[in-house]
Symmetry: C2
Subunit: 355 residues, 2 copies
């Protein structure tokens, strides 16, 4: 393939979790979607916007969303940049901060998309291992001799483990770094704390979020980043001019305005998570404490891959993940009680047959 850049030719490409269709006929616990629909106000706002017409360009900076998000987060609108999903935000940050041959640091095992983003950019990814207690050591902040460290990214809560690093520890880590540190808070609404307050304390700390998980809006593609205004201004140069469409801006704004819906939804998911953890523990699985809407499960005796395959045969999808030089496991999304119960009882069957 002589036309594309060598970095692209070499790329396998990021493979997102399998999206079986039609989703109504399977139990889908593999991409951490919300089992509950978004707030009815979101649908209403989308319908109103659709009927108002779509022939005009949307607000380039998603003004209404910035105002609403600023209110919820207690920051001014110019501390916020909206994106077409947090994927868009992660891409923008990579392009803004990391040049060819330079390095992104991320923890390990963690979200594998960061590697792809580095590779598309012709950059490197360098992993710092989590310690046994799922904290990060000073090696996360260490400069490299051979390539300039330009961006740190920490998903917090982490995927696939669901583990959480306290904001104080994140802040300390940032003080040891000479480059920006992006905290990917995709799952933070299922945790107890957030790093958003750190942004005002250090220009290097940035926080990104998505509406895909806690707001039940994976289909809408909406995410955002919180950073100091001079950082936002630079990121805005890299984004596409109209990166969010009029419908998603309207929907996302309505979603953030309905914090009651979020609280209710969150409570249901945390209750189901508790039951999932207990049941999987009973089946002999080990799990780090989850602060997200999924759990990371390893079993000492049974093949994780076999379980995932047999579940898929039965129309139940969980995420089998295998990290080189670390190990494999099953990441199971928190669905409805009923979905998780069906999944768990099938796993029990598989384990009984395999033992």
């Amino acid at each position: 393939m002589k036309y594309v850049r060598p970095e692209i030719e070499a790329l396998k490409g990021y493979v997102p979790g399998y999206q079986p269709r039609p989703v109504e006929e399977v139990i889908k616990l593999n991409t951490n979607e919300n089992p509950y629909p978004p707030s009815p106000r979101v649908i209403e706002a989308i319908e109103v916007q659709a009927r108002q017409g779509l022939e005009r360009y949307p607000s380039p900076m998603a003004d209404s969303f910035r105002e609403q998000a600023g209110e919820v987060l207690g920051v001014q609108p110019d501390w916020i940049l909206a994106g077409n999903g947090s994927d868009d935000i992660l891409t923008i940050c990579t392009r803004a901060f990391v040049g060819q041959g330079e390095t992104i640091r991320s923890p390990y095992p963690s979200y594998i998309l960061y590697r792809t983003l580095a590779e598309i950019q012709g950059a490197r990814i360098d992993f710092a291992r989590f310690r046994d207690d799922w904290s990060l050591g000073d090696d996360f902040a260490t400069e490299l001799a051979e390539s300039k460290l330009r961006l740190g990214v920490i998903p917090n809560p982490n995927s696939p483990t669901g583990t959480f690093i306290e904001p104080e520890a994140i802040y300390e880590l940032a003080q040891k770094m000479s480059c920006p540190l992006l905290i990917d808070e995709a799952y933070v609404d299922f945790a107890s704390r957030s790093c958003v307050e750190l942004v005002a304390r250090d220009e290097r700390i940035m926080v990104c979020r998505t509406l895909s998980k806690s707001y039940g809006l994976a289909g809408l593609r909406f995410g955002y980043i919180v950073a100091q205004p001079h950082m936002i201004a630079e990121l805005a140069k890299v984004k596409d001019s109209y990166n969010c469409d009029a419908l998603s801006i309207a929907g996302a704004t309505a979603a953030l305005a309905d914090q009651d819906w979020l609280a209710e939804n969150r409570a249901k998911i945390l209750a189901t998570r508790k039951r999932l953890v207990a049941a999987m523990t009973d089946l002999g699985f080990e799990q780090p404490e989850s602060h997200a809407n999924f759990t990371w499960n390893t079993h000492p005796d049974v093949s994780h891959r076999t379980i995932a395959e047999k579940l898929a045969d039965a129309g139940i999808y969980v995420r089998y993940m295998d990290y080189d030089d670390y190990g494999d496991g099953l990441r199971i999304s928190v669905g409805t009680d009923r979905q998780n119960e069906l999944c768990i009882s099938k796993i029990a069957e598989i384990i009984a047959a395999e033992s």
Copy 2:
């Protein structure tokens, strides 16, 4: 700003046409939007999708759209990649084909976004001048001594001039090039011919389109590229995993399914364009023949900048553009007859006052 890449720091950033709010209270002829609403079927499809729920991820490759577009264009679905506006497609192509220090070739004067895309990528843009008859010479295909030519981009019809290069001439040009040639057909539905049929004849030729202009869907952010399947496969590696949302996929699919709406809308706009051209000619403006939903107007005696400013004072927005080493002029979108009439009579007033 020590954190961002030097290329980003140096970047002014692409400034899209001014988006006055609320748009209902002004006459907006500066960003080539469609003055007519999209097909009612689009709105219906969006409402159906919104009510079906948005908690699941959308189709990563926008499958329903690919099938519908394939049917309209007479190609298989795997010849199509959908994007979050054609901005997304242009960004993907730049990232896939053009490395740091390499070059994009585009005509001059033309769409200025290509320069920004090159600069974000740390690449160069090299311009080949249109000849007097708005065709392109062999210099468009010439290799450079100092930097590898990796991508050619030709908007056809061109912006801001509205001029059109026949597909035969494009094909001949491609034969002289060693890199891919992207034909940006944002405005092609207002012309008589297209380069889509060339894609099957040469793997280097790719065609991108947007639904923003002819389908009246600037607010929806939807574009696509037609290329040979092995090229699509490489481009897909670079895009964000879920780059189009469920609502825009549903709306775009419905838009392409309603070709009658497109034909009707097109006929109205071409009729208004004809009137606009005649009236501006009467006022002493010169215009190359437009194949788009806008015209490029230059006046031998009156300051274009003054006209644009005085129009804006009156709540009428056209696009003043000034190309270094070429000259300036007014790009006026084809709106409704009424909008264009108000614009023209105000211009007549301004000219009378200035002369």
